[in-house]
Every structure is written in C-alpha cells, then in structure tokens.
C-alpha cells in the first residue's frame, strides 16, 4: 500500500504541473478552434527525433532534442499560416493533414531503420507512472517560464493578433507538448489539454474563472484517476484518461441540472435512459428469434447476475450436463495450472526435468486444453439448444419488457381505449 503510494505521489505532482500549463493552453486552443493541434505538434516532434536517430544521434542527446525543437518550430510557422489559408478549408482540416503526414513519414523512415521504432514509441507513449522527481525538475521551471511569458504577453496572444504572435503561441505550445507527451503519452496529454478547459468553458465566461475551474477539476481528476489505477489494478494513463472523460460527462449532467429547469433535465435524462433500454431489449428479442445460437449479451448478463434464471429455461438434464461440463473444465484448468507450475519451478529448482518428461508435460497440457475447449463447447451447445427451444417465449417476454420500459404514451392510449370501449358498449 505505502509502496504504491510512493510510486504515485511523483506522478501526482507531475500531473498537477501538466494540468497547470495545459488547462491554460486548452482554453486558448478551444478559443482558436484548433483542438487537435497538440497531436500534430507531438507527431512532428517525434518525426524530428526519428530523423536525428537516422542521422546517427543517440536518444536523449542534445542533438536529438535540437532536431525535435527545429521540427516543432518549423511546424509552428506552418500552423501560424494555416489561419490565413483557412478561408475555404477549416484550419482543423489542415492540422489533421499535418498530423497524418508527419505520422506517415515517421513510419516510412522507421521502415528503413527498425531500431528507431522504440525511439518513436518512447516519444509518443510516455507513462506517467514512471515519471519521477527528475522529470519534475526538468519541466516545472520550463512551464513556469512559458506561463509567465504568456501572462506578460496576454494582450498580444488573443488569437487575432499578427502572425508573429501566432507563431510565438504555437512554438511555445509545441515545446510544452513535446516535453509533456514524452512524460505522459499522447492520450493523457490530450485529456489534460481539453477536459479541464472544456469544463471551465461550461461553467464560466471569464478567462480567470475558467482557468481556476480547470485547475481545480484537473487536479481532482488526476488524484481520482491515480487512486483508481491503484485500487483497481489498472494501467495508470488509461485510468486517468477515463476519469477525465467521466469528469466531463458529470459536468455536462450537472450543467443541465443547474441551468435548465431541474424537472426537464431529469425528465430528459430518464427518457434517454428508457429509450436506450427499449432499443437494447427489442434488439436482443429480435436477435434471439433470428439467430438464437449467436452471443446474447443481454441474456448472458442476466444469467450471470441471476444464475437461478437457468433453472427456468433449462431442463433438469440440461442443467446437470451444464454443471458437469463446467466442473470438468475447471478440473482440467487446475490440473494444467499444477503441471505448468511444476514445470516452471523445475527450470531452476531441484533436479532438472529431462527433455522427455517436458515433452510429455507439454502434450498433456495440450490435451487438457483441448478437453477444456471441448467442455466449453458442450456448455455453449447445451445453452444454445435450450435458447433455440424457448426463443419465441423469451423473445415475446423481452418485447413486452421493452414496451413497458419505453417512454411511449401507453397510459394515455390505454385510457383512450377504455373510453372508446365504454362508448362502443350498447346501453
């Protein structure tokens, strides 16, 4: 426990640092409507590093960094000009083209020098879990300096100024993104950039308030994501990205609740939930009738949650066949694990197993695997057959359930029908 926390706190400090600068840049990027510019810049920096590698410079050398920087600056010039060219084509389209071409050129270069693949991967897929105090020392002063510069030049950097200031904006942004992506990876950096800024934009108008909200939400989401990654044993970057996404979703709901009348918001949310339930239920009813032997996610989930459902549609014989098969499959699995374990230990402990014994273990393992697959086949076959038998009843029940759940005007129609019937009845 304490050990995992010892891993996590440098990662948390680095996240705070990244949120600090990226929430700011995110607001700017949202205002300029160049959402994917960070992907393009990161890819260009990676391309620069790949070129340096091809020319024989080692990774993490000043020369490689200089190449990355030079490519980023060049791309910044291009990006600054895209605003001028973007009269007939949206700027975002040009940015997308810069991104895919940079990515494709790197692939072509790497095809000539496969050793460079790792190089490129390292630039684009940083892992925040492995960020340490060293990284913090490197980025904190840099980001602080760039933040300060932007604060001093805030009147110039509105996005409407001259191209020189646009170039300055993209160049500094490129430097920040390049260092961040190497530490945290493309996905997480994109979340740091867009999510806090978007949440700020949802709840506030003024720049300062947006930034404050972004910082608060970003820091909180980072902490929650890191904690979840530890608690549920998940890859850190992916867990954090999902937390950021969840935070944005929650903010959307919260906004709806706060700003429209509370009752309409709830009503809309409930109606959306009911419609999707209806669609899922009706869809699986149809699937059951048309293709009863295929995967039935809804029925499988229901059976998983309430295993007693099986007693309803399986005959006693089928139930015992199912239980037998599952028991056998489990026995084969444990037996195979035992053999694997024994073989694994014999590699370094005690007397080495001779080649003949290992060959026998290997073929035994293979037959256990086949027998287990056979039992699994029996299980799907038994259930598939039973489902085929009851498909009309179950599908009718599912459809009825779908109708019940759907937010159609059933109550009113029912009432109207009764009125009609009463009217039609002879006195």
């Amino acid at each position: 426990m304490s050990q995992a926390i010892a891993f996590l706190w440098p990662a948390f400090l680095v996240s705070v640092c990244l949120v600090g600068i990226h929430a700011y840049f995110g607001i700017q990027v949202l205002a300029r409507k160049v959402i994917f510019v960070d992907l393009a810049l990161a890819q260009i920096a990676a391309l620069g590093a790949t070129v340096a590698f091809m020319l024989g410079h080692p990774a993490q050398s000043p020369a490689t960094y200089a190449y990355s920087l030079a490519f980023t600056l060049l791309a910044s010039v291009l990006l600054a000009f895209t605003r001028l060219w973007a009269t007939r084509v949206p700027q975002e389209a040009l940015i997308g083209v810069i991104y895919v071409v940079a990515a494709a050129v790197s692939i072509l270069l790497i095809d000539r020098a496969p050793q460079g693949a790792e190089h490129l991967k390292q630039i684009l897929t940083g892992n925040i879990l492995f960020a340490g105090i060293g990284e913090l020392h490197a980025i904190a002063p840099l980001y602080a300096a760039i933040g300060l510069l932007h604060f001093l030049l805030r009147r110039r950097l509105t996005g409407a100024g001259s191209l020189v200031w646009e170039f300055f904006f993209f160049a500094t942004f490129g430097v920040v993104v390049t260092s961040s992506v190497a530490i945290a990876g493309v996905l997480l950096v994109f979340s740091f950039l867009i999510v806090p800024a978007a949440i700020g934009a949802i709840f506030a108008r003024s720049f300062a308030t947006q930034l404050a909200i972004g910082w608060a939400v970003g820091t909180l989401s980072s902490a929650v994501g890191l904690a979840a990654s530890f608690a549920f044993d998940l890859p850190t970057g992916a867990a954090m990205v999902c937390t950021f996404g969840g935070a944005l979703g929650l903010s959307g709901v919260l906004y709806a609740v706060l700003h429209s009348s509370r009752r309409t918001a709830w009503r809309m949310a409930i109606a959306a939930a009911r419609w999707s339930m209806t669609a899922i239920l009706a869809g699986s009813a149809l699937q059951l009738v048309v293709a009863p032997r295929t995967d039935q996610p809804v029925l499988d989930a229901a059976e998983y949650i309430f295993p007693s459902l099986r007693t309803i549609y399986l005959t006693r014989g089928e139930q015992s066949a199912l239980a037998d098969a599952s028991e056998h499959a489990e026995r084969y699995r444990t037996e195979a694990e035992r053999l694997n374990d024994m073989e694994g230990r014999s590699r370094s402990e005690g007397e080495a197993l001779d080649d003949f014994t290992v060959a026998r273990i290997s073929s035994l393992l293979r037959s256990y695997g086949e027998m287990r697959n056979g039992e699994q086949f029996v299980m799907t076959e038994v259930r598939g057959r039973a489902r085929q038998r009851v498909r009309w009843t179950v599908s009718f029940a599912l459809l009825a359930l779908a109708l019940l759940v759907s937010p159609g005007p059933w109550r009113r129609m029912w009432a109207q029908a009764r009125v009609l019937r009463l009217k039609g009845r002879p006195e």
């Binding site: 050990q3 891993f7 694994g344 290997s362 393992l365």
Partner: protein, 312 residues
Amino acid sequence: MRNSSQTKSILLCFAMMLACAYSVLAWSALAQDRVPIVTTTTDLRSLVEAVGGDRVEVISLVPAAMDAEEYQPKPQDLLRLKNARLLVRVGLDYDLWLDRLLAQADNPDLGRDGAGYVDASFGISVLEVRGLSVGPGHAHGLGNPHYWLDPKNAEIITSTILEALARRDPANVSIYEANRLAFLARLETKLSEWETKLAPLKARPLVAYHNSWPYFARRFRLDFVGFLETKPGVPPSPSHLAAILQTMRARAVRIIVREPSQPERDVAFLAGKAGASVVTLAASVGALPRTDDFISLFERNAEALSAAASAQ
C-alpha cells in the same frame, strides 16, 4: 553495298539477342539452382541457412530488430511468397499476420497443406500451454512461442527444415544432412561453453519485461521471478509494479532483462528503485549488433548476462 551493311547489322542484332537470351537463361539457371525460401523471422532464416548452406536463398519477411508481432506486411512480401518454394514460420500464433498474406499470395504450394509449408514449432515441447487461443502475437494463447531461445530446440527445428528441403530438392539431401550435423556439432560444443558461462547465474533470480525467456531459462537453469508487463501491450498498474518491487527486494533480484524493442525508461525506473542493473538481451537474430546468426545470438546473450553477474 547497302545490302551487305544491312545484313551485317541484322546479324549483329541477332547475335546480341542471342547473347542476351543466353545470359538470361544462364542467370536464371543459376538462380534456379538455389532453392528460394522465405521465413517469417531472422532466427528461422539463420537455421535454414545452417541446413541449406549455399544451396538455398533465404529471405526473412520481418527485418532484423523489428518486432515480429507488430509487423505490417509490404507489397514486396507477396512477390517473395509467390516466388518461394519453401515457407518456414514460427507458428503458435506468433506470426499470425502471415495467414492473410498467404491467402493473397496465390501460391497454393505454400498453403497450410502444401508441400512447401513448414511450421517450425512442429515437434517442439511447448511450454506454458494454457489451452485458450486468445489472439495474435505475444498473447501466448497457444503456449509460449519463444521456443527458439532454447538452443537445444535447434535440433528439432533443423530436422523439420531438413525434411522439407529433402522434399523440395531430393538430389542434394546428403549435403543438407552433412550441413545440419556439422551445425549441431558446433552448437553442442558452444552449448557447454554457454552453460559454464551462465552457471554463476543459477542462484540469482531475474526479472524481465516480457515473458520471452522460459525456454532459455529451462536450458540454462535460470529463475525468472516476475515480468513488468502483465499483458502484452498493456502498461503495468501501480499495484503490479509494487508487487514486483517487493519480490525483487525479498529475493534480492539484481538483474532486469530487457529486449531492445522494450521501453527503456520503464525498466530503468524499476531498476533504479530496486537497485538492480539492466541487461539488454536479443531475443532474435540481428536484434543487437554481433547477433548475426543463431549461435552468435546466444554467444552475445551469455556474455552480457555473465558480465552483469560478475559486475556485482
């Protein structure tokens, strides 16, 4: 006058064409002489060369130092497959991308039941079979596919290759047999050298990034106690990392094994925390300098490991 010069030039043309045709014929006869063979990896290429000697022309589809699992076939590969008379693959779902390539290559001889199709995993005692096919590459669904890392397995692989070569080129079987025996004899003397070199590592547990080494570990009696990666391509979670670190401290692991295609920083991070050193090993021929063939691959790995062990 005019007529004779015309005749002369026609004759010259004819002679040139003849010469051309002859050289093309001679060249193609020379090329046909050598059996064109395609392998998926460089390791298999080296083993085919060991048996075939200069009577075969071997191309590996995956270039050296590229991750065979993430390989993206190129148009030229189709041509290579079309012209090949023998195809040698790793099997065990390691080079699964080959199946789609084969379907397009229009060379039924190399298809699964063709005379030119060789699955080198035939006859190998596969370790860590779990009996669930889960997908391509490093998922290890059909058991651990890194079987060429036991040098002893070269005996089985080369015998499979020999059999296939005998089918394709029966006239030269005796040459292939002699080549194979000479190679195996060389390997045998080297093997005992490597065993003495790696003997000091017997009591030293190791940690690796990816589970590539069970066959290597069994042959040289090494103890890999953990892997950074829980599943291929999925970065470790903090709790998994904490558990590995705990194991490393409890069992005094001083060496972490990394392959050139695996993230340097992640391994360095763990090594720094646990006070271990990182050893970069090649899991494939050509992945590192001085690993140009099957024997030098083990030579270099044994050297690197024993150097790391004696440095401590």
